[in-house]
């Protein structure tokens, strides 16, 4: 009888975890699953840039397919600044404000200011749909706060992607601690339920590197038409390892990385065949002395200086290098 019960339980678990529902329960996280980034990071505005945040705010955009008409939610994991995950500087005294915008002015393709890359200009474009300030609040530590419900129709429609655009702004409005958090775009206020076809992207990625040697993080800038090279800028990498750029046509180009509190830029040539797909920026930790709690920033732009979006779910999938061997006869020397 006991044995029958056990078999029954195993079968139930198998059905549950093997079902599409389980797949959907894995949610649509930001950072994305393929990115393997532990946390996004935003410091209080009194923090030092050398701690790994150059501007103390971070903007993420969400695209909701036009044909999705049900309410949706933006869930923030560990929105407070204190407790287990966040980076303390002296004592936790930081307040972080999360604001959700929709409506006209949000779409970064139509409104460049919205991307948040142009210093001194207003990136708080669009209609403010919701906002909340978090301090050191244990009830949100390692837990979710859910924004919404939002009506997808409240977004800024982008015809190219046939999606409604929303954005969430995270600002360190006071204090100097680092707030580490994640987002989940969900159709359910209490669970992580992915919205099919939705995506998330940013133009300036502020994130925490892993505290171990083996984990490799990724980001996936999308290469749009007309791009012949991109210029990457990375900030405060603390000389922590290597950044390798991989695509279907590049096995791995090594690019220079920054040290403490500085920017390093470099150009990466783009093959015509790489257009319309994503690059894979791989972040390999330095071997030897482990660099801990390393927060970094990275942006990319095309040859005209237009910022490129990093998609949480890479457009075209994760690029896998395809080796190309050419065999040719060697001319005989007489």
């Amino acid at each position: 009888m006991k044995l029958n019960k056990s078999i029954y339980k195993i079968l139930l678990l198998a059905i549950f975890f093997g079902s599409p529902m389980f797949a959907r329960l894995s949610g649509q996280p930001v950072p994305g699953k393929d990115e393997n980034i532990p946390f996004l990071v935003t410091f209080g505005k009194d923090g030092k840039t050398s701690w790994g945040d150059d501007d103390f705010y971070q903007i993420f955009f969400f695209s909701i397919p036009k044909d999705y008409t049900k309410p949706f939610y933006i869930r923030v994991f560990d929105p407070d600044c204190g407790g287990e995950n966040d980076e303390i500087q002296g004592e936790f005294d930081t307040k972080t404000k999360f604001s959700v915008y929709g409506g006209k002015g949000v779409d970064p393709e139509k409104n460049e200011e919205s991307r948040g890359l142009l210093k001194g200009l207003n990136y708080k474009t669009g209609n403010l749909l919701a906002s909340k300030i978090f301090g050191n609040e244990a009830r949100y530590d390692n837990k979710y706060y859910t924004f919404g419900p939002f009506n997808p129709a409240e977004g800024d429609y982008n015809a190219r992607w046939n999606s409604n655009m929303f954005k969430i702004l995270c600002e360190g409005i006071s204090g100097d601690d680092g707030n580490l958090y994640r987002y989940f775009l969900s159709s359910d206020p209490n669970n992580d339920v992915a919205i099919e076809g939705a995506n998330a992207f940013t133009y300036a990625y502020h994130f925490r590197m892993w505290n171990n040697f083996k984990s490799v993080s990724h980001i996936y800038p999308y290469i749009d038409t007309g791009i012949v090279y991109i210029r990457q800028s990375n900030f405060d990498w603390d000389n922590d390892g290597n950044i390798i750029v991989v695509s279907r046509y590049k096995q791995g180009i090594q690019i220079p990385i920054s040290n403490e509190d500085n920017w390093v830029k470099s150009n990466i040539p783009i093959e015509p065949a790489e257009v319309g797909a994503s690059l894979d920026f791989q972040f390999h930790k330095k071997q030897g002395d482990l660099v801990k709690n390393n927060n970094v920033v990275i942006t990319t732009e095309n040859q005209r200086g237009d910022g490129l979006p990093f998609f949480a779910s890479p457009i075209g999938g994760v690029p896998v290098y395809q080796p190309k061997i050419k065999v040719e006869k060697v001319k005989l020397k007489k």
């Binding site: 791995g252 090594q254 080796p323 190309k324 061997i325 050419k326």
Partner: protein, 480 residues
């Protein structure tokens, strides 16, 4: 010591084997045929090839009743044209008239490049003294024009170097008209009759130049014939020939006349063989011989096969370059590319080269070592390479050799799958040939020779015979 003896024995056996094997068939290079317009009992000599047929010299009767006898009582030679009736037959020869017909010999002769000016041999002295039966009249060269109807030599004038004291005659002009070759026993030669040439400078023939001891010998050299190819054919009775007068040829190389070479049988014979002329392609021509106890003109046809179109030998190449194309574009790749070539050897780098030892199918494997993570991706990519020999007859021969050095040529590496080869035919580019898979050859003159190897199959079902030709150049340098 024992090893040395063994080595020597092995070497001798090998040499003997090669020698036996390379005693390949040496088929006759020429076929000869006596011309139909010869007249038995009369001399028929010194053919000249013209557009309409053959011009030659003969001491035959003009007709059944007409005859010409010189002052010395000997029959007179005159010039005749045997017109072609078709490709193999000639009409009855007609005499070319001149004011000298009746009393003096006419011919041998040659035409200048204009096709109108005729240089011919005749007697120098025409005065009363020439009528003395005991007077020794000497020959000279005379220049004339062919009449408009082509039947008469007119405007005859003597060559400036004629001399009543010695013989000058048997002219031959180079195809550019700049050099006149002739025979003479003028003083200062090598002995007997020698060959000379005059160069045409500023509208006149310069002083005669003796061709020197490489060509002229103490014996007779006469009947020069300068072929359009630049080869100089002539006749000599020097020692070393096949018998009596024989035909030789030489060429000018770096300003020097090469050692003359004897033409093979059946052009030369134990009888007198002389006055050789040939078509520009050297495939056909004419000469004179008294091998049937009468001076007759013979036609020769070369049996040498030489293809107008023949592929150039391509060396088999088993060397390949392998390129990881994307990696080769960038120099900041933190990877090491390790190649396994499928024959036990390997190489490293985004671009590697490898030469396989022999044809075959090889699987090339690329392993990639990530220098950052130290991870190795085994067999990241593999390619199959078919290394094949080129389908062609193959000439194994040195690129360079020396004069008078024996070289061995082999067709052993011929790669023509499905062909049942019946014959390997070699044309060595110097009008010599051989038949066989393994042949030997010596070149006597320096130069660059184009060797052709022509292979033919046994008749296939239906009777078709397949043929393939490959060629290769060999440089022959002078060896002391």
């Amino acid at each position: 010591m024992k090893r040395r003896i063994l080595y020597n024995i092995t070497f001798i056996l090998y040499a003997l084997l090669v020698s036996l094997q390379t005693k390949a068939q040496q088929p006759a290079v020429y076929q000869v045929k006596r011309m139909s317009f010869n007249w038995n009992g009369f001399s028929n000599i010194s053919p000249v090839i013209v557009k309409d047929g053959i011009i030659f010299c003969s001491n035959r009767r003009f007709s059944g009743i007409q005859d010409r006898i010189g002052y010395d009582g000997r029959r007179l030679y005159n010039i005749y044209l045997a017109e072609k009736k078709d490709t193999s037959a000639f009409r009855k020869p007609k005499v070319l008239k001149s004011e000298r017909n009746n009393k003096f010999n006419n011919g041998p002769l040659c035409f200048a490049p204009d096709g109108k000016t005729v240089y011919f041999t005749s007697e120098v002295e025409t005065g009363k003294i020439a009528e003395d039966r005991n007077f020794k009249n000497h020959s000279g060269i005379f220049i004339s024009e062919l009449s408009n109807n082509g039947t008469e030599l007119v405007s005859i004038r003597p060559f400036k170097y004629n001399n009543p004291q010695y013989e000058v005659g048997q002219p031959s002009i180079s195809k550019d008209g700049k050099y006149l070759f002739f025979a003479s026993d003028m003083p200062g030669g090598q002995g007997g009759s020698d060959l000379y040439y005059c160069e045409y400078i500023n509208g006149d023939w310069a002083q005669p130049v003796n061709l020197g001891p490489n060509v002229n010998s103490p014996e007779i050299e006469n009947y020069p014939y300068i072929h359009p190819s630049g080869k100089l054919y002539f006749t000599s009775n020097r020692p070393g020939g096949i018998g009596k007068l024989d035909v030789y040829f030489t060429s000018l190389y770096n300003g020097h006349w090469e050692d003359p070479l004897l033409l093979p049988e059946p052009i030369n014979s134990t009888a007198d063989d002389f006055a050789f002329v040939a078509e520009p392609n050297l495939q056909t021509g004419f000469f004179t011989s008294n091998r049937r106890n009468n001076d007759d003109i013979y036609e020769f046809t070369s049996t040498i096969i030489r293809k107008a179109t023949c592929d150039t030998l391509v060396e088999n190449n088993y060397c390949y370059r392998f390129i990881e194309e994307n990696a080769a574009k960038y120099d900041t790749m933190p990877f090491r590319y390790e190649w396994k070539f499928g024959d036990g050897s390997s190489g490293t780098g985004p671009v590697v080269e490898h030469c396989f030892k022999s044809p075959g199918t090889y699987t090339i494997q690329l392993d990639v070592v990530n220098l950052i993570t130290k991870e190795v991706t085994y067999n990241e990519k593999s390619e199959t390479v078919e290394v094949t020999e080129i389908e062609q007859p193959y000439i194994s021969a040195p690129d360079k050799t020396g004069t008078n050095q024996r070289i061995v040529l082999s067709a052993d590496s011929t790669n023509l799958p499905g062909w049942k080869i019946a014959q390997y035919y070699w044309n060595f580019g110097d009008e010599t040939i051989a038949v066989g898979k393994l042949v030997d050859k010596s070149y006597f003159k320096p130069g660059t020779y184009n060797i052709q190897l022509i292979v033919t199959t046994e008749p296939e079902p239906g009777g078709a015979v397949r043929e393939a030709c490959i060629s290769k150049n060999i440089i022959v340098i002078r060896q002391p």
